[in-house]
Amino acid sequence: MICVQKDDFNLGDEYQKLIADTNGEGAVVTFVGLVRDFNQDNSVHGLFLEHYPGMTEKLLLDIVMKAKLRWDLGKVSLIHRVGQLTLSEQIVFVGVTSKHRESAFQACQFIMDFLKNDAPFWKKEMTDKGQKWVEFNEQDKLAAKRW
């Protein structure tokens, strides 16, 4: 299940959906990303996340399908929020079930790495001094390269 939405999500609810009708999957790994202050001077109080509707969903589905081909997975859930977000709000959720914890961990990390690298999201930070588009992050590119 892939969802790009403005609304917040609830980890407990998403987890319940993941473990419903399990088929022997004993490992559940979840990742939640929170809006954090990327700058050193603590001046960011929120961000606006723009995306390319249609392409985002396609890219996220591609990433999830790649993970499913690579590891023996049960269910995969991905929720990404867009629009206006304030500091410490939830921004992304990835949940993966698998028979093996190693596969669940790897696949969840793989999805996050490619999501950061490939998905058409553009981040604008709201700071005390005004709005500023976030620059391309070399670290995220490196994280995806290792797979």
Partner: protein, 82 residues
């Protein structure tokens, strides 16, 4: 006719999120870009400088890739993650 979309900072700087371009097939992404650059000096600068990525029908593409009538072409800066 090709539908053209802009995203991120590029959209803001161009002050335009959607437009369209008439093309004579066969045409490439570069042909569309050149057509757009004719609109103003500002557009020419913004579409020439800095890395501008392109997607045709939701797939990442290159400048030399072919574009057909009815396609959706999007220009945007490097993505900055979720």
């Amino acid at each position: 006719m090709v539908k053209v979309l802009f995203f991120g900072q590029l959209k803001e700087l161009l002050d335009c999120n959607e437009t369209s371009v008439d093309i004579a097939e066969p045409a490439t992404v570069d042909d569309i870009k050149n057509e757009l650059k004719l609109r103003s000096e500002r557009w020419a600068n913004l579409l020439s400088n800095g890395p501008v990525l392109v997607a045709i029908n939701h797939s990442m593409s290159m400048s030399s890739d072919q574009v057909n009538n009815g396609d959706e072409v999007a220009f945007f800066p490097p993505v900055t993650g979720g």
